[in-house]
């Protein structure tokens, strides 16, 4: 393993690629993670730090390096370069009992009964089978699958099987839950249920990291995000800070189409139908308003909208990555 020993403490947590830890210990610290496959860099210097109890999203289009990053964080593969620590441990397998992982490619033994599948996943994390079965029954009943306790996995619908696998990820009561594209393949109702489940985990102090190519999930759930594109992480930090990285957007609707007032608009202004969109000038709204009034623009409506995570993503990762993200998101929805 080509991981060098570096002192991470107090570095990432206070640096650019961090969300405020507020005194919380870090569940995950990673710095300079690099992984190449067949000479191609799949991940190129990823820095991430996640405080305990946070919901953290890894946001990027397909093929950006999300899964490889998660696999390195979990110790499924080792980085070529860089350092990763999970709850302070260099080797995540050493604290396997504290981690729950739902891979992107969902997998269960088709001939296993639901209760056995969940208990087996718990056993992999050190939970005795007997206790695992007991908890599996409780979990299945709590999540509306009490009728399926003794059903084989092959007899379940896809959504039910995904729920069973998620319960298997949680049965040993991990302190860190890592979910790779957890929303893919779920309908809107189950996506909503999963969001609630993730929030409930965080309320219980569990750290949740998930990867997604759907911005809304990250925006709704996450305290922090890492934006990843082309194997690099151009931004990792709080969602709020990401949104603050680009100025608020002004949306203006006027009666007049031409006039001297146009000279008061910034050069980045775009027209979209009847509306004009442009970033809020650094000088503020007052001088702009004055110019529009004096220039007889005939203001019909004017709103100032704080930038969303999507705008932040476009600004940080670039138009091409944003287009790919959008395409992936639409592809998944279809």
């Amino acid at each position: 393993m080509a991981v060098s020993e570096q002192n991470l403490s107090g570095n990432l947590a206070e640096g650019f690629n961090a969300i405020p830890a507020d005194g919380r210990p870090l569940a995950i610290e990673a710095r300079g993670l690099v992984k190449s496959f067949d000479g191609t860099r799949a991940v190129d210097g990823v820095d991430i730090s996640v405080p305990e109890g946070a919901i953290y999203g890894i946001l990027g289009p397909n093929g950006a390096g999300k899964t490889t990053t998660l696999r390195m964080l979990l110790g499924i593969i080792d980085p070529d370069e860089g350092v990763r620590r999970v709850f302070g441990h260099d080797r995540p397998h050493d604290i396997g009992r504290l981690i729950g992982y739902l891979p992107e490619e969902r997998g269960l033994y088709p001939s296993m009964k639901c209760v056995e599948a969940i208990a087996f996943m718990g056993a992999l994390r050190g939970l005795p089978l007997k206790e695992g079965r007991k908890r599996a029954v409780e979990l299945l009943e709590r999540h509306g699958l009490g009728h399926a306790i003794d059903r084989q996995i092959r007899q379940l619908s896809k959504g039910m099987a995904q729920t069973v696998q998620l319960l298997g990820t949680l049965v040993h009561q991990p302190r860190l839950v890592v979910l790779d594209e957890p929303f893919s393949g779920l309908d809107a109702i189950n996506q909503g249920k999963l969001e609630m489940m993730i929030r409930a985990l965080a309320d219980d102090g569990v750290t949740v990291i998930f990867s997604t190519h759907v911005i809304h999930h990250a925006e709704r759930l996450c305290e922090g995000v890492a934006i990843i594109a082309g194997g690099k992480v151009p931004y990792a930090g709080s969602v709020e800070a990401a949104r603050d990285r680009i100025p608020a957007q002004v949306r203006l609707e006027t009666r007049a189409r031409e006039g001297a007032w146009l000279s008061f608009l910034p050069p980045e202004t775009r027209r979209n139908g009847d509306f004009l969109h442009f970033p809020l000038p650094e000088s503020g709204i007052e001088p702009l308003l004055k110019g529009l009034i004096e220039g007889e623009a005939g203001i019909l409506s004017l709103s100032i909208e704080r930038a969303g995570l999507h705008d932040a993503f476009v600004a940080i990762a670039g138009e091409a990555a944003a287009r790919q993200l959008q395409a992936d998101s639409e592809g998944a929805a279809a």
Partner: protein, 417 residues
């Protein structure tokens, strides 16, 4: 620097045990395993039935026919005595027929006649009524000595009070050296070991392909070290193999108990006649079990690596062919070195992990020393560990390359292109 969280991980043994327990139960209680168990029994049962029928035919038509090459008067007396006893003794007596080729030929050589495989007699009786001699193979002589003596006694007197002793003149060559005879045991043991290993190690091949098909492999890889996954799977499959061997062994024992004589008649092979191995039968069987385990683990570790890297059964078949060929070659190497004890070639066969169990089992048949086995077993166990470690490393390096979505994306891209 690293924090110590008490019991925050499974030990390698515990992790392997979780995998082994699941795999063992899943395989053992699957319908496919039942068919797998029955598979080799079909030819055995069919062979047994055929042997039984053939045995009956032999009993009636051939095997019970004993040729008479005595003087014409003695021949006639023997036939008459046989007919006189037949109502009482039935099939316990052989069908006595004068050998036509011997009639009127005082120089008739029964031994040459039998060795030339002429006629169809179990044995040929030569000599006189007072001193008959049986010419045939040892088992046949042993079988017919008593009945022929009884018939000869009755041929001498209607109510005999004494029976002539019947001499034997074995045709089969059994005077070879002890070493030479033990080669037979060594060869049969090697062949059995090879067949069982090849037959059963194939199960390991498809095991990880199934895991990858179920997409569960990543869950396993995330939870426990990959070498523990490999170890668990190997030992589960080994345990399943022992179940298979036990079932087949019991079936074979049952068949043998029911029709062992007939099988011996048809095949001419009697395990009871196998020369005792140099280390003695109990130890030889124990070593056979241990060497089977080692051969299985070694080949299984290779197959597991292949299975983990293949994504379809077709890929498995393609990738496993070279390993199968390699295994065949090392078997031939080990078989070839039986007759060259102590040679550099035998040492090479012992040193090369894949051929080592075969070469050492043959050695157990031929040589009485035991320390060499302890050494060889330690070496083979070390080789298993190295192969498992190497396989798991290869798996982590070569297999866990990308997320499914990334792969899908690339596939779509390729298709579009």
């Amino acid at each position: 620097m690293t924090q110590q969280t008490p019991r925050s991980r499974l030990s390698a043994f515990e992790a392997a045990w979780v995998i082994a327990r699941r795999d063992f139960v899943a395989v053992l209680f699957s319908r496919a395993f039942l068919f797998f168990l029955l598979g080799p029994l079909f030819p055995v049962i069919v062979g047994g039935l055929a042997g039984s029928i053939g045995g009956e035919v032999q009993r009636e038509a051939v095997s019970f026919e004993v040729g008479l090459a005595m003087s014409p008067d003695d021949n006639a007396a023997m036939v008459a005595a046989g007919e006189g006893l037949a109502p009482q003794l039935g099939q316990a007596l052989p069908l006595l027929r004068p050998v036509p080729e011997a009639a009127g030929d005082p120089a008739f050589d029964a031994r040459a006649f039998m060795e030339a495989r002429r006629g169809n007699y179990a044995v040929i009786v030569t000599g006189t009524l007072q001193s008959p001699t049986l010419v045939g193979t040892e088992p046949q002589i042993a079988r017919w000595q008593g009945p022929v003596g009884l018939v000869a006694g009755h041929a001498l007197a209607a109510e005999p009070t004494a029976f002539p002793s019947v001499a034997g003149e074995p045709v089969a060559i059994s005077a070879a050296s002890e070493r030479t005879t033990r080669i037979q045991t060594a060869q049969i043991a090697q062949m059995l070991l090879f067949l069982l290993t090849m037959l059963l190690a194939g199960m390991v091949l498809s095991n990880l392909v199934e895991e990858k098909g179920n997409k569960i492999i990543e869950i396993l890889a995330a939870a426990i070290p990959m070498d523990a996954v490999f170890m668990g799977k190997l030992f589960a499959m080994l345990a399943v193999s022992f179940v298979g061997i036990a079932v087949w062994g019991l079936a074979a024992f049952g068949l043998w108990s029911a029709g062992g004589d007939a099988i011996t008649q048809v095949t001419g092979f009697d395990p009871a006649n196998l020369p005792a191995p140099a280390v003695g039968w109990p130890l030889f069987i124990a070593l056979g079990i241990v060497y089977f385990a080692m051969a299985y683990l070694l080949l299984g570790a290779l197959f597991l690596t292949i299975g983990s890297m293949a994504s379809s059964v077709r890929e498995v078949q393609t990738l496993s062919m070279p390993v199968t060929m390699l295994q065949l070659m090392v078997f031939f190497l080990a078989a070839y070195t039986i007759k060259q004890p102590g040679s550099a070639l035998e040492m090479a066969a012992i040193a090369f992990p894949l051929s080592s169990p075969f070469a050492m089992l043959a050695r157990a048949a031929m040589e009485p020393e035991l320390w060499t086995h302890a050494l060889a077993l330690a070496w083979q166990a070390f080789a298993v560990l190295v192969l498992v470690k190497g396989g798991s490393l290869l798996f982590r390096k070569r297999v866990m390359k990308s997320g499914g979505a990334g792969r899908d994306k690339r596939r779509k891209g390729l298709k579009a292109a």
